[in-house]
């Protein structure tokens, strides 16, 4: 292979037809309130871990729904499961169990 000093750039676009939706499918069944998130971000605003890190549950839920799951494990490992997000959520998403179930899915599919 030749070296031209450049190479193909990685596509930033989410290819929904090919992305990995296993976590989404699992969590949707196990914790149906996963579906009713409106991505308002209240959870992230109150997040104890989010105080100190980039942890963003709102974004994580959105990305999992799109099958973009790289980095989910690392992000999720910061969660202390304290439950502030559950109390703050205006829509009644059981965020703690969403996280618990995402963890299970990560384990189940060795992601």
């Amino acid at each position: 292979m030749k070296n031209f000093g450049f190479s193909l750039s990685k596509d930033r676009q989410i290819d929904f037809d090919k992305s990995d939706k296993r976590i989404m499918d699992f969590v949707k069944i196990e914790e149906p309130t996963f579906n009713i998130c409106i991505a308002c971000g209240t959870c992230t605003a109150t997040c104890s871990a989010g105080n100190f890190t980039e942890m963003n549950l709102r974004k994580m839920i959105t990305l999992i729904k799109r099958g973009e799951i790289t980095g989910v494990r690392a992000e999720l490992s910061k969660c202390m499961l304290c439950g502030k997000c559950s109390l703050a959520c205006p829509r009644g998403v059981n965020t703690r169990n969403v996280i618990f179930k995402i963890n299970q899915a990560l384990e189940k599919y060795s992601l």
Binding site: Q13, I36, R58, R66
Partner: protein, 351 residues
């Protein structure tokens, strides 16, 4: 004593309801409808948001209203002229008939945005791109929703704001009903094809009406309808006839592409040709968006710049059915008070 006469133009919800109300107050009302059937756009809708009741129930209610109050109905009316001479309005039809009245209510409604103008979505070019109105026709006909190849769609995309809030097509306003229509239709698709995945591509979800938010939550919770915040930049046809859509998922902060088997365009409301035609004949004022303009946005709704000429329903702005009912009754009330020589303009203290 001769009864005072009112001409109502447009046999949709607004026209029928204001005609029925005016006639029930004792006026001699003549209702003009350009087609051969009363009911307007409502005839094309199966179920209505947010209650999912049948559209035809509402048509029946309206029908009964005009018949019980003995409204004179002129169907297939081809109005060639409408004008005000002195205190009398005159309307002439294509068959030479002439009608006169002391007051007039314009209820000429809206037209559906021509989705072909949003060329990048490929309506009229790609096989499986349809409009919300066409989807409703499918529901109404009782036929199954199938791709042009006759297959049951696995994925359906719904594009909000087609022809609304879009400077590119010259419509900067919100058509109000499309968001909740999308939610309603996505629920209906899921009820008919439970295995399908429905994706709504929205800019903002404007669930302003009572129970709309509940319907939206129901769509998410019970039917697992997906909502992706991002406007389609374009749709392209894949080899298999499915459509590749491109959006930015603004909540994920990434561009996204996906294939859908059917793409439904939520077409908005535009001022109808009839409104333009008859409003111009009468010399009525139009607002910047091409809908009829009231004398004052807050206090003088339904009241046009022509004394004795009023308007009701979607010829004034996009409205939901319940808003049209309220507007039609308000226009009827304003018409009646005009005929009883009530001077509302007297109350205007501002300039």
């Amino acid at each position: 004593m001769n009864r005072k006469r009112v001409i109502v133009i447009g046999g949709g919800i607004a026209g029928m309801e204001s005609a029925a109300n005016l006639a029930s107050m004792g006026y001699d009302v003549t209702l003009f409808e350009k087609s051969q059937e009363l009911g307007g756009h409502l005839l094309g809708w199966e179920k209505l948001f947010p209650t999912m009741r049948m559209g035809k129930d509402v048509v029946k209610f309206l029908d009964k209203g005009v018949h019980l109050a003995k409204v004179n109905i002129v169907k297939n009316s081809n109005i060639t002229n409408a004008s005000k001479n002195g205190n009398l309005f005159t309307v002439s039809c294509g068959d030479g008939a002439k009608y006169e009245s002391e007051a007039l209510v314009l209820a000429t409604g809206y037209d559906i945005f021509d989705a072909k103008r949003k060329e990048e979505y490929g309506y009229g070019i790609y096989d499986n791109v349809i409009t919300s109105a066409e989807l409703e026709e499918i529901f109404l006909s009782g036929k199954p929703l199938l791709t042009t190849k006759g297959e049951i769609p696995k994925r359906v995309g719904i594009v909000h704001c087609v022809g609304s809030r879009d400077e590119k097509v010259g419509n900067v306003y919100c058509s109000k009903v499309c968001c909740v229509t999308a939610v309603k239709q996505s629920i209906e698709i899921k009820e008919k094809i439970p295995d399908s995945n429905v994706f709504c591509f929205y800019m903002d979800l404007r669930m302003f009406g009572m129970h709309f938010e509940t319907l939206y939550k129901q769509a998410q919770e019970k039917h697992a309808v997906n909502f992706i915040r991002g406007r389609l930049s374009e749709a392209c046809e894949n080899m298999d006839g499915s459509l590749l859509v491109k959006v930015e998922d603004t909540l994920a902060g990434k561009p996204l592409r996906m294939s859908v088997d059917i793409l439904v365009l939520m077409v908005g409301m535009v001022p109808s040709e009839g409104t333009k035609k008859i409003g111009t004949m009468l010399g009525m004022n139009f607002g910047a968006n091409g809908f009829l303009k009231s004398q004052d946005q807050h206090t003088m709704t339904s009241i046009s710049n022509i004394p004795g000429a009023f308007f009701a329903g979607c010829c004034g702005s996009p409205r939901t059915i319940n808003n049209v009912f309220a507007d039609a009754r308000s226009a009827a009330m304003m018409t009646a008070s005009y005929l009883e020589a009530y001077d509302i303009e007297e109350r205007i203290t501002y300039i």
